[in-house]
């Protein structure tokens, strides 16, 4: 079905309409605006200033306003819900993806990445993002107690461990560990500090609390993007709706939302590529909680703090600071490669799934769990990123957005379905065994993985639900990120990444978005937009 352009006075016009203001949206919006295009960004979440990021767990504080938690069938997704997207809530660990990942075949029997992309091809784009955010290397003086303890445990078990590159300005950081509520000290280099102000300075318009529902065609070959205006406290409520016509649409609503928008648009846009809403990857994520024996930490690792304790520092820090990369070895078989990263999740998310041995096997609730909570300050969480099997699929879209919203903010029920294959389960089991080997050696700690019984598996790194590739049967986008069969629609968020990356993905999502811009500029020019490519970094 096509909708006549200019059918009504109410329909606004722009050159480029960007959906979502996370990495994929902010980076493309900046370059297109800087190149001279009229750019409008629609973002479903609110727009908060630094001083609105609160240290508060109360429902309705920034912690729940800017966060999104969607429970599906077998998989729960955590993400951002605000201007700046995931960059506002993330932990800012920014490693590059090791070379072997680009050669992965997964279960499709051929290279999943397009032939034009490997590590060497992506390196110049990584350079740009590292410079723009910027990203810097942690060193042993900025590594937190938790990172240091994990490093020492790795070393004692015969493993290497690296301070992780991060988009954190350590001169401003207070190590408060409230990163998920937004950084009120501007230490975390979110997109609110670089690409988004750059886009605004070049005339881009960012509209918060505008949730895109579907896309239709106009009869001049462009697209009409339909949105609802979301209530600013109760996201279940809508304050009206509207539409904007654009020559180019950049979809960057995140891997949990982009495929849903396309599925909902299928009736009007025509058939979607098979891979839209398929091949979802949770980046092979898995968490283990170790409870450190304080005396052993002092005796075995020789660590101590100024107050005399050895560790007791779960609450202190800034997310992941140290990772062990020994299993990122390209000569190992696929699904056996993973990284281990020390991590902090605040109470709530960080406590409910942690398990203890119970009378009938591991349990996540009850009296034994409460005993575990008494030792919370001695917890050390490790984060596995492994190679999963792209086994997630989206079911029929909900009426609006990408989930039925349950709470006023944050919590919803979404259409994703995920059943880990034997390959994925094996990777998790191997990583659990390695965490145990490192952390339980000589009684340093007791370790159990988080439960997958409560919300299924979980991921803060949704990927691949609308991916790039060379094979039209198993990829929704070509290697320029254009949606197959729908010229002028580009996807530049985590959904475009073909597979699990074995490391944190934001730097790679950002580098791919940077790489996609010249192609989007070309497509815009072909559609009569006066835009050029080549602006300096924001």
């Amino acid at each position: 079905m096509t909708e006549p352009a200019g059918e009504s006075f109410a329909v606004e016009q722009t050159d480029v309409l960007v959906v979502g203001s996370g990495f994929g949206g902010a980076i493309t919006a900046y370059h297109l605006a800087a190149g001279g295009a009229r750019v409008v960004v629609l973002e479903r979440g609110p727009w908060l200033r630094s001083d609105e990021f609160e240290h508060d767990f109360m429902l309705g504080s920034s912690y729940t306003r800017i966060f999104d938690f969607v429970v599906g069938d077998g998989m729960a997704l955590l993400g951002g819900n605000c201007v700046g997207g995931g960059s506002v809530v993330y932990f800012a660990a920014m490693p590059r993806v090791p070379s072997f990942v680009f050669e992965r075949k997964g279960s499709i029997g051929r290279r999943m990445w397009p032939a034009t992309i490997d590590r060497a091809a992506l390196d110049p784009w990584y350079d740009r993002v590292e410079q723009a955010l910027p990203v810097s290397r942690n060193d042993w003086n900025t590594v937190t107690y938790a990172g240091g303890l994990f490093a020492a445990a790795c070393a004692r078990a015969g493993h290497t461990a690296n301070p992780v590159p991060a988009a954190v300005d350590n001169t401003l950081c207070t190590n408060c560990n409230w990163m998920m509520a937004g950084c009120r000290f501007d230490a975390k280099r979110s997109l609110l500090l670089n690409y988004l102000p750059g886009a605004i300075a070049n005339g881009a318009e960012i509209r918060p609390l505008h949730e895109v529902q579907r896309i239709a065609r106009t009869d001049d070959g462009g697209y009409r993007v339909h949105y609802n205006v979301i209530h600013d406290d109760d996201y279940r409520l809508t304050n009206g709706s509207g539409a904007i016509d654009a020559k180019i649409v950049v979809l960057a609503a995140g891997a949990g939302a982009t495929p849903v928008i396309l599925q909902r648009s299928e009736a009007e846009l025509g058939a979607m590529p098979h891979a839209v809403g398929r091949y979802f990857s949770g980046n092979g994520e898995r968490l283990n909680t170790a409870v450190i024996d304080e005396d052993k930490a002092r005796d075995l690792l020789g660590v101590s703090r100024p107050d005399g304790s050895a560790f007791r520092a779960n609450q202190v820090g800034k997310g992941p600071c140290v990772a062990s990369w020994d299993r990122l070895d390209g000569s190992l078989p696929e699904y056996s490669r993973f990284s281990l990263e020390q991590l902090y999740f605040p109470p709530g998310f960080g406590t409910i799934l942690a398990q203890v041995p119970g009378p009938d096997g591991p349990t996540w609730f009850g009296p034994e769990k409460k005993e575990l909570l008494r030792r919370w300050q001695s917890w050390l969480t490790t984060f596995t990123m492994s190679e999963d099997d792209n086994e997630g699929e989206f079911g029929a879209p909900p009426p609006t957005g990408n989930a039925f919203r349950i709470s006023q903010q944050m919590l919803g029920r979404g259409p994703i379905r995920y059943r880990p294959t034997e390959n994925t389960l094996r990777g998790w089991a191997e990583s659990d065994a390695q965490v145990k080997e490192i952390m339980e050696r000589d009684g340093l700690a007791t370790v159990l993985p988080w439960s997958n019984d409560v919300v299924g598996a979980y991921t803060v790194h949704p990927l691949a639900s609308c991916r790039i590739g060379d094979d039209p049967a198993t990829s929704a986008l070509d290697d320029r990120h254009e949606l197959r069969g729908h010229p002028g629609i580009f996807v530049t968020d985590g959904s475009a990444v073909p597979c699990a990356l074995t490391v944190n993905p934001a730097l790679t999502i950002a580098a791919l978005a940077e790489r996609a811009v010249p192609g989007i500029v070309r497509a815009a020019r072909q559609r009569g937009v006066a835009v050029s490519y080549g602006a300096s970094l924001p």
């Binding site: 240290h55 508060d56 767990f57 429902l59 429970v71 490693p95 590059r96 090791p98 590590r119 290397r137 942690n138 042993w140 003086n141 590594v143 107690y145 240091g148 303890l149 490093a151 020492a152 070393a155 493993h159 461990a161 690296n162 301070p163 590159p165 207070t174 190590n175 009120r184 660590v303 703090r305 107050d307 520092a313 609450q315 202190v316 990122l328 605040p346 109470p347 709530g348 409910i352 009938d360 349990t363 609730f365 009850g366 009296p367 769990k369 409460k370 909570l373 008494r374 919370w376 300050q377 919203r405 349950i406 709470s407 006023q408 903010q409 919590l411 029920r413 919300v455 299924g456 490391v503």
Partner: protein, 176 residues
Amino acid sequence: MTLEAFADTIVPGEKRFPADRSVAGAASGGGAVVAGAIELLETPAAGVAGGLTDLARMLNEHATAYAREHGRDLDGDVPAFVALAFDDRSALVRALTGPDHPERDGWVALALFSNMAFDTAAHRHTTEAIAEGHVGLATMGFAAPDPDGLWRFPAYSYGRPLADLHPDTTASGSLA
């Protein structure tokens, strides 16, 4: 009472008074109930308040069926779930929140909020909860903020190398 007993199964506590029935007394110190589970479940922001009456009714139906199946006698003084012994409450909650239970969404939501009342006091401003000695945050040893209500940890690093780097580390700090 029924929902209190559910929350107490998730994070158990000591009885508030000798005749306390909903809190089973399976652990020392306050649990989810004293931490404010019912208050949190009833906050409009949580979005589950409208379903609580139904959930309580269903929980008691499940408890009655459980008692029949396992040959437990339930006294009629309190709702069926409250009349169950703590271990039976736990077994039933395990089944209801299990991966294959058709109603698991509702029970998992109840469990999530029961847990959050204890771990995060999400019905209160965190600074106020801490100032008043909120039982969950105190049990975990959650540190108090600076006088301006913000957290800062000036001492945070052991400040010395604690492991060898991976041999393939590049100048950017990533692996090759």
